[in-house]
Structures are given as C-alpha cells and as structure tokens.
Symmetry: C2
Subunit: 336 residues, 2 copies
C-alpha cells in the first residue's frame, strides 16, 4: 500500500489554487484527505477532485495539525497570517505568494536548484517563485555552465490571468464593448486593456520598479545561484488571457556556440525547443502545457557574445501550480 | 503669394499613404496639384484632400516631370521600380519603404540628424526610416550627448496596422469569432493573433533575424551616428490595432543622472514625457498624436549605469507619415 499525505490548499478558489488541485489529481499525487481553504468570502464554494466536489472551508478555522503539507496559493497577506500557525503545528508548507523571506523559505525550481531542498529541516518551508522567474530559471539554469552569463535583459508580457479571474472577465468585457462600439469604462484595470499594452503591472516604487520586477530579479539571482547577476526587468500587461511571453537578451563572456545551446535546450527537462524558423506562442503552444517553450534562439546582429531567446509558458500552470506540485513530489519522500 | 509645389503620393490608398495626405492638409503644406498614385488594383479609388475627393491613378502611367516631390509610401518593390524614373525626371523623393541604400537616400529623422539634408543635391533622395527606428531616434538623439550609450536592448511590440488594412480587419475578425465561440481560421496571420503575441514579424534569415529587426538596427545606428552601437532588437506582433510600444534598456558608460535625463526629455522636440509613476499607452495616449510618449524612466535595479524607458507612439503617423512630411518641410526651402 502506498503511503498517502493529508494536504491543505489555501486559496483553493483562485486560478492557481484550482489548477493546483487539478494537477494533484492528474499527477496522481498520493493525497489522503484534501482540505480546501479560502477566505470567508470564498468559503462554501466547491472544487472538483477525483470525481467529487470538495467543499472549500474558512482558513481561519483550520487546524493545521490535520495535514502534513499546505500549499499557500492565496496572496502574501494570507501567507504571513497563517504560515506561522501551520509550521507551529508541524505542517510543512510551499508558499506561492512570495511573502516569506528566502532565509525562511528558499525559492526553488526543481529544474534549477533542487539541491537546496536537501538542506532543509522539517517542517519544510519552500517558496515557489513568481511565474516569470520560474520560466527563466527552467531555461537559463541548464545553460549556465555553457554560457558565462554577464547580464540578462527581459521584457515579460504577462497574461491578465496573473491577476485572477476578475482581470480575465474584464479583458473579455472590454473587448466585447469595443467590438460592439459601446463606451468603455475600465473597471479592474486603470485604463483600456483590450487591444492595448500597459507598461507596468502594479505601482512602481520611488525608483520606478514594480514589486513584480524586483521579485523577478531577486528570485532569478537566487535560482541561478548568481547573486550579482545584472538583470534588467520590465513586466508589461498584455491583452492575453493565459500564457506569459518573455523576450530575453543575454550578454555572455564570449561568443555563443548556438549548436551547443540548441543541444542543451533539446535535452533539458521542462523545456520544449521549437524548430528553427518557427516560434512558440502562448495560445496554441504553451497554455495547458507543462513545459516552457523556447524559440527564436539567435546571436546578436554583429555581436556573437549576445544570445536572444523567446520564451512562452503557462503562467498559472508551469509558472505556479505545477512548480509547487513538483516541489511537493520532491519533499514527500522526507515527509513520512 | 506663397510658392506651391506639385506633389505625388505613391501608395495613396494604404494606411500610411492616406495618413500622409491627411497630414499634408493638416499642416497646410504648400501643395499645388496633388497626384495620388497606386498600383492598378487600387487605382480608381479616391482619397479626400481639402474638401475634394482626389482620384487615385496608376503609378505606371504617371509622368514624374509633372511634380517636384514624390512620397513613396508603397512597398520596396514599387520604390525600386519607379524611383529611378522619378529622379530621371528631376523629381525629388522621400522613400518610406526602406528599399533604397543609405548612400543613395540617407535615412533622416528631423529630431535626430536633420543636418544630413544639408549635404544633398537635387533631385533630393531621402529615406524616412521604419517606425521603430524613428521613435527610438527621436528619444535617444537628444540624450546621446548626456549618456555614453554602450548598448541598446529593445523589444518592440508592434501594432497590426504596420501590416496594412488587411491585418487590422483580421485582428477584428479573429477577436469577434473567439468572443462568439466560433471556430477560428487564421487568414492573414499564420496563427491566432487575437489575445496572443507573435514572436516575429516576417520570416527570419538563416541567423534568426527578421528584415524588420535588421532594418531597425541599421537605421538606428545611422540616425544616431553611432555606427558601432550594439543593439539587440526583437520585433513582436501584438494584438493592438494602432500604436507601437517599445521596452528599451540602455547600458551606459557610467551612472545615469535621472534628473538630467528627465530635463532633456521634457524640453526635446517630438517627445511627451509623462509624469513620474504614470505610464503612456498606445490607446489613449499615442494614437493620433504627433509625439513619442516616454515613461517608466528608471535606472537598473542595483545598476546605476542602466537606463530603462518605455516608449509608445503612433506607428502610422509619427512613425511614418508625419516624419516624411517633416522631411518635406525641411526640403522645400531648396526645392524652388
């Protein structure tokens, strides 16, 4: 008989939480009892799991000693409120909110720095990084040894689903209003999102950087174990429902061997390299898939020490929910 | 009495050609007779100018000795076919297609390198660069003296209107099909364009670069008079009707003085700098305007020698038609 684990998912009604439950089922994760939790507004809803509807209950009232592992898939404030209670009850946790400091819950992407898990003590606390950092780490970690990466410049065009269901509905609503030539009144976004690009996601700090951009830079340095890596990050809101697209330019210590880069990308886990001349897109390729798609692999125009890439991946699935479940798969051997 | 000039516009029925005619009227350009020309398929249509509909005629049959200046706003093949006939007839020309080599028709953006015009002989031949290079040159030229620009990394998200009317209709059609949950059959684009980003515009060469990206790099070096400038360029097709958005990261020789950068951008011609914390977008700001909007001016995270900018501008107007008319305004003093 296989050993099972009792699991809690906090934020179970959100886009990431619901996908996480679905992936636990798809990957046949050894779940004993599944406890779905949310804030009081969302409690009472139900989410399907293994052919049954599981009722979502209030996280406030939950006894964390009932589970061995909790996924925190709600916002940073929820993690900060309930993580201490979980660990005090002996429950290990995987946080997707970015709320916990790296010393407390190191950020891990299995394809990049799984070895960090070996140094942890129970109850485990691990961070699942932001989708953009996760995608970049999956692709850059296997190339790290081959390339002397000096600098990364990334423009990430993010799907509205990163901001939850309300943002998805708002893009659909705005688009329909415009196509029907009705007046547009932006609600969720501060202006027209349909057929437009918004240059920032969230409010920038006094230096002009958004929290998402700072999180991306900080997490990518940790995941690649390159604490001094120079990273220029711009996160943009695109009129796309699902799937992030990243335009990446790397500066290297010397000329790039494109043949070797392609061979590494072809064989590395978690990556799908598209054929030369083709390119991957969010819709049609990445959405619903468990890999980061890579295309447009090319050196610079007149600069052999530059490597350019285009990445696209499912922000909710590969960028968040799947990474968290992959972390859980690595942790459970020591959870018993 | 003001002197007038007889003018031809080739490609008068295209998005750029039609806007160009409109701008000639708006700016009260001293047009005597306006000849609108196009290929045989588009001949017969008419375009409004000064309250009248001007009939579009076949370029094949046109006698270029009737005009002092011709705008070539059709594709490169049309320029290559008819530019020699125009100059042989003593007609000066402004080419928007990028077809003519720089030695024959130097690329000029008035805000960046107007002085190049002084060295030309009649009949004048001048190139109006691609919209992306034009936008970048308007913003980077006045900063060139202040910053030791070592490298430019740009991801340009282009509006579908850059590919003409058919692309605009196709984005609208695809979007409507999707919102009505009808099956999508891509026609103009090779896949779903609605709610998606396409990683390349046109077919890449053997090295992976598209013609548009190579044109951007080449033209920007010429416009800034920095022939060895390292430029990483990625041109992406966005589901946006009008207005290009550029995410730009510059590496500088030393720490950036943001106060000085902001002062230069505030006073330079052709630029609208948005307030700190705000950001400009294609829809709502740039479209229909005669300036390049600049926002998100910030140094790097932990790198004071990095400068990041977000530019957005009307690709058809400021990026093409208006620049060509501005060039004509500078040339006419010597055309008489």
């Amino acid at each position: 008989m296989t050993q099972t684990f009792d699991i809690a998912v906090i934020g179970a009604t959100g886009t990431v939480g619901e996908t996480l439950v679905q992936i636990l089922e798809e990957l046949d994760f050894p779940v004993g009892t599944l406890h779905l939790l949310a804030s009081s507004e969302s409690a009472g809803a139900s989410v399907p799991f293994r052919g049954k509807n599981v009722r979502v209950r209030e996280v406030d009232e939950f006894d964390f000693s009932k589970v061995q592992l909790a996924f925190f898939a709600a916002g940073p404030a929820v993690t900060l409120s309930f993580a201490p209670r979980a660990t005090a009850a002996g429950c290990s946790l995987i946080d997707l909110s970015g709320a916990l400091p790296a010393e407390q819950a190191p950020q891990v992407v299995p394809e990049a720095n799984a070895h960090v898990l070996d140094g942890l003590r129970k109850p485990f606390q691990v961070g699942s990084p932001s989708p953009c950092a996760t995608h970049l780490a999956v692709v850059l970690a296997p190339l790290r040894g081959l390339l002397g990466i000096q600098r990364v410049s990334v423009t990430a065009s993010l799907a509205v689903s990163a901001q939850g269901r309300e943002a998805v509905s708002e893009l659909a609503r705005q688009t329909a209003e415009l196509l029907n030539v009705r007046p547009l009144e932006p609600k969720f976004f501060d202006r027209q999102m349909a057929f437009n690009l918004l240059a920032q996601v969230g409010t920038p700090d006094a230096q002009g950087h958004t929290a998402l951009e700072k999180r991306l830079v900080h997490e990518l340095r940790v995941l690649l174990d390159l604490p001094l890596l120079k990273i220029s990050a711009t996160c943009v809101q695109a009129p796309v429902f699902f799937g992030d697209s990243l335009s990446v330019s790397l500066q290297l210590a010397g000329p790039v061997d494109l043949g070797a880069v392609n061979r590494v990308l072809e064989s590395a886990p978690g990556i799908e390299l598209v054929e030369e001349g083709d390119y991957p897109t969010a819709v049609g390729d990445a959405v619903g898939q468990d890999v980061v798609y890579v295309g447009r692999v090319r050196a610079g125009i007149d600069d052999p020490a530059e490597l350019n890439l285009w990445l696209t991946s499912d922000n909710v699935r590969k960028g968040a929910a799947l990474n968290a479940v992959q972390l859980a798969q690595l942790l459970i051997k020591d959870l018993a």
